[in-house]
Amino acid sequence: MIFDEIRQVMIGILRPYADSVQKMTASQKLLVNCDLMGRVRLIVPSRAKNDTELEKIVEIIAQKISEQLKPHTFDADRVILYEDDTDAVINDAPTSKLLSDDLDTHYDALKNVWLVDRLIVGGNWAKITDETSSSPRIVFFSIKGGVGRSSSLAATAYHFAQLGKKVMVLDLDLESPGLSSALLPEERRPEFGITDWLVEDLVDNGNEVLDEMVGYSTLSRDGDIWVIPAYGRKNERYVAKLGRVWMPKDEQAWSERLRRLIDQLEDRLKPDLILIDSRAGIDEVASACVTSLGANLVLLFASDSAQTWNGYKLLFSFWRDAIDVAKIREKLQMVAALVPVNNRDQYYSSFIDQSSALFTEFFYDQMDAGEIDGWNFDLNSADAPHYPAKILWHQGWSSLSSLHEKLVDADDSELKLIFGQIFEFLSPYLDEKGQQHV
């Protein structure tokens, strides 16, 4: 029993009692209340309690809910809540009819039964997790969308797979997922995605979906690319699921839960490299990808625009207040995204001025004259995290209708030309891993 099946199972349970349900709901809604953890309770108008016949039916329904919806519900004695005014308890939560209107009028008796979703956003994202000791985890992050983050990640996965490596790719851009379709044709999409696992995990049911959430990409001939998509083929009520993924469970913030998922997948697949597509923005989801997943390296995609630099300023000032900067700064690396064809040198020098100023303000140690110890880099030092790896804008990659097809006939020299600096930058992470295994 998984979250997606709740609606269908509920309809099956209520249908035999349609007449009684109609009586209960003559003047008040009956609510199928799906709480923050994705567990169902029935909220019944109080008048049903005053009618022994109806009360008995409610008890039978509670029993069935408890039997058929576990783990997405409670023991029978906790399934029912009576309320005088069921409209009042909806309280602005997203609500839809249990039966959509286009269904057979045969079920008309259930027309006042509503599904209510208690959703949430938020979480604790100011904790940094120590990096992992096993496969390197590389996070691709950007402030703004559309900077070629997912394309670069896909190209990187492809490149290292061609070298015979096992690459695991996660699409954490849950709100606007795109990465998985770049690496997998739609028919290879697995049944479930990260969103499903995060929802099932709330009721300790993660294993139900774990085996069915990995897609295998056929792009690579020599290595492996495993794709863990944001959502799977079974994809009912995506918004209702999204509104629960940020829930903490037993004191574990959602990002720690996510880390647990990545640990489990890593344990099963034993990849050489883990690439994570974080979402764009400075919200907590994006930030947690950087701070909580045990990343070894975070690639910060940027274009040289005021909006981008202001965004990074906001993000970094938050980090400076909320976390131990020394723990994160060595994992950061700027990436100059979509570098324009013309006036490249001028573009770089402006970029470096901006990113150097940013890192100096937030991350570099202040050095007094004569001091030599300290974490600091010169403006033009190529080892500096502010000194960008470059990804070139290329006509052949702009406005692609299918990134997947582009990768199917990938031209290795073109890939190197555009993304080569990223490949080079990441190579040492794989070598270290290789040595550990010898």
């Binding site: 209340n33 809540l81 208690r118 604790n124």
Partner: protein
């Protein structure tokens, strides 16, 4: 016996309602106050209040009756980011005191109990909402 604040909240509430209905005002007033105390402690626990081995609050400041508990609740509530529990006005239960259980019944009027009931109902609703949202079983 270990503390179970949520259950204690519910049973005190039910009994208070019975007594209120029968106009047994003095004890209704008393139990509304206890019900609110237990309900609020149950929520505070959800918001991070730690308990000792016996199930009472670790911090002495939290071992208070309802007339002194609201600021403690608001403090936990402010730090809890997962869910936006309502802030409570600090003047709830300002005329309620646990020692009133020793008082003569003639001190309790329908009016005083109505006020206590109104304040206790705010906490009853708070717990109810926590249950509906799945933060409490």
């Amino acid at each position: 016996m270990n503390a179970d604040f949520k259950d204690a909240h519910e049973r005190h509430w039910e009994d208070a309602e019975h007594l209120h209905e029968k106009e047994l005002l003095a004890n209704a007033d008393y139990l509304y106050g206890l019900s609110a105390e237990c309900g609020l402690k149950a929520i505070m626990q959800k918001c991070g209040m730690k308990l000792d081995g016996k199930g009472s609050p670790e911090n002495k400041e939290d071992r208070k009756h309802i007339n002194e508990l609201i600021p403690r609740y608001n403090g936990y509530r402010d730090k809890f980011t997962t869910f936006d529990f309502e802030q409570l006005p600090p003047n709830l239960f300002k005329d309620w005191h646990v020692d009133h259980r020793y008082a003569n019944r003639s001190n309790f009027t329908a009016q005083t109990v109505q006020t206590t009931y109104g304040d206790a109902f705010k906490i009853y609703e708070l717990v109810r909402r926590a249950i509906i949202n799945g933060l409490m079983k």
